[in-house]
Symmetry: C2
Subunit: 401 residues, 2 copies
């Protein structure tokens, strides 16, 4: 085989994909698995919207099948702009945003556009595992700011300030957070925005879960530092079409123009069919009611899982998530290693979670559990199985042989 790229080694099998592979095998063996590992919604987009799209499929208009502008269709960008104003009070001109093939392309194109080798990027710890391989690929140095579960994973702006140096190119904020479910408060957002202006770095603000908040509200960093914020967004969580690959980025117009060109080279344009569904959804009378229903449903499931954890894993440490889809539990009282525990729990007890090490250098005895994929009674059963897995864990100090 002729040679390959030296940089591409940064890319390894995604951690959740490894869990998925074991799940696939257990599925073939027809074993029942409680899936607490999935980072995707269980509620599809509103039926009316799907019906409308289904009808359009029958027309012979090539428009639905044709390429779109690489920035995304104008009508969709206008609808997104209106939606940001209505749901968040944020003013984003349709020309200051570009539509992407999912949040993943939004992330990749953003860092492709801003990074030079040797730049430093500050990540929280824990944080979403998707950032690390991209930053490594572009030759950035990752600097971590630790968050403490005991403080509710609150962002410590002073600790962040200490990490900012002359090579700091960007700080990544994920709120509502994956994996902790914490929501950054408006005071912290303002303080980071001031710091970004003062020290001239980008805030890459991952707002994938902005509509999934159970207590509190979302603070939009763009409001406080429009020249420094690149906001990453997705339609994967709301309205719930993760496989359809649609997201968007907004920020300073000049930068957005560059990100658009990066996306054009990567995928030419965002999927036209997905753009159409998103437009029908944002313009639908169902839009707000859908979010309300989904949030209520997920909140009830979260509460069910919290109750079940308290019952079956009474020594688990966790913060009640105020947003997103996940609870991040420290199982240090039961286990000594989250990675092998996750495999053990899946293989022996039929419950899938994601190990804490995928998100953190600090919480290696933690696991991430999603409360939105399975219905309440199966969330309870999942917690019961996790309790069983913890009890049978080889390193469990209190394990009954």
């Amino acid at each position: 085989m002729p040679g390959i790229s030296k940089s591409i080694d940064a890319f390894r099998e995604s951690p959740t994909r490894r869990i998925d592979a074991i799940r696939e095998r257990l599925k073939r063996e027809r074993r029942d698995v409680i899936v607490l590992s999935a980072g995707q919604p269980s509620v599809p987009p509103p039926r009316d919207v799907r019906m409308a799209l289904g009808e359009e499929l029958l027309g012979d208009d090539m428009e639905l099948f044709a390429y779109t502008p690489s920035q995304g269709r104008r009508e969709l960008r206008e609808a997104i702009s209106d939606d940001l104003r209505r749901t968040g009070g944020v003013e984003v001109d349709p020309d200051d945003l570009t539509v992407t093939a999912g949040g993943q392309e939004a992330m990749f194109a953003t860092f492709m556009t801003i990074l030079n080798p040797g730049d430093e990027v500050i990540l929280m710890d824990p944080t979403y595992f998707g950032y690390k391989p991209i930053l490594e690929y572009f030759g950035a140095r990752i600097v971590r700011v630790g968050l403490d579960m005991d403080d509710g994973f609150k962002l410590d702006v002073e600790a962040l300030k200490e990490k900012v140096g002359p090579r700091t190119k960007a700080v990544v904020l994920v709120s509502p957070d994956n994996p902790t479910g914490s929501v950054i408060g408006v005071n912290e957002v303002k303080a980071v925005a001031d710091l970004a202006v003062d020290r001239d770095f980008w805030i890459v603000s991952d707002e994938a879960y902005r509509m999934l908040i159970y207590e509190g509200s979302h603070a939009y960093p763009y409001t406080y530092a429009p020249d420094r914020v690149i906001s990453i967004n997705t339609f994967s969580k709301d309205p719930g079409m993760p496989g359809w690959r649609l997201g968007f980025v907004y920020g300073p117009r000049e930068l957005i123009g560059r990100i658009k060109l990066a996306g054009e080279e990567m995928t030419y344009c965002p999927p036209s069919i997905s753009q159409r569904l998103a437009l029908l959804y944002l313009r639908s009378r169902e839009r707000e009611a859908h979010v309300r229903r989904v949030v209520e449903e997920y909140r009830a499931r979260r509460d069910a899982l919290m109750q079940a954890i308290k019952r079956f894993l009474p020594e688990a440490k966790f913060q009640v998530p105020h947003g997103s889809m996940f609870v991040f539990m420290d199982l240090g009282k039961y286990i000594d290693d989250g990675d092998s525990f996750a495999e053990h729990a899946l293989e022996k007890h039929g419950v899938a979670v994601v190990p804490g090490s995928y998100f953190s250098d600090r919480y290696k005895q933690a696991v991430r559990a999603s409360f939105v994929w399975e219905p309440a009674h199966r969330l309870e059963e999942g917690a019961r199985r996790l309790g069983e897995a913890a009890a049978s864990w080889k390193g469990n100090p209190g394990r009954r042989e």
Copy 2:
């Protein structure tokens, strides 16, 4: 604004996008434009297939909306493998191919996977304009092999051999070709395959138009050098869903695994809805009849355009295209510069073509015209307008003032 990447300057507004922008303006001014610039089909996928997908949209199964494996769904990869065997006699194991978010992602992920800065990549001249910015971005040196219209743009293997050196990482073949419509013969394909094995370089084989052949047949390079060929494919031209962003790459398994990981970082997975449509299409009884109908339709349109060119642009030089969607015409007898002529033709005469300079350093007085987007009577009108534009061209030696 904090700084941006130094490498990203390789990305500029795509040439066809610039033509599109003028077209958009003329559309707003409600001027009729004959579109010979579009590189996309005018026939949507079969109605039965669209109807089946529309019905699935009404189900509440999250499967249609969920993430898929980053390599694409197993059933789709099996269907693609079967289809390659049936339509081309090529044996490709479903594990030796990865599904991508369109041919563009296939191209980008391929070069991301194989290139190191300073590598040389050999492109034909003329060739598809999409390769240059990607190669420049990854720091490759582009080496060109000229093709002559007088020889029917036939690939001269001896000339290619002279350009192969110790730094040659890949040779890009596009057949059926964009922009010339030429089809590389089996002897040339075999000779390049032998050379690739002998000199150990990759053949990046762009087979986007493999089903759109009007005379002759497609030679599959993979058949002759399976360890050296990376085959780039798309569902944009067949069945005609360019905006839905779906393609695939096949080649040596180890490399495909790497390209899959690159795609996973870029877009996480190919669009699930598009995968579903492609699967329904490939498994449909309509599949072969659809291709036959489309090829007949496009052949008739091609013939109409050829006739009209002979009538309205009798001094245009061109080869009758045997495949793809385009004719590449040298208008050197009428004009001195294809770029300004294309703008002139669009602005003053309402006919859109793509300048030859986008594809070639040699044919700067040429233009590319698509014969598949407009119906026959409008192709004729388009040629008439081109003739008028040529007659009114300021640099035209025979121009009547």
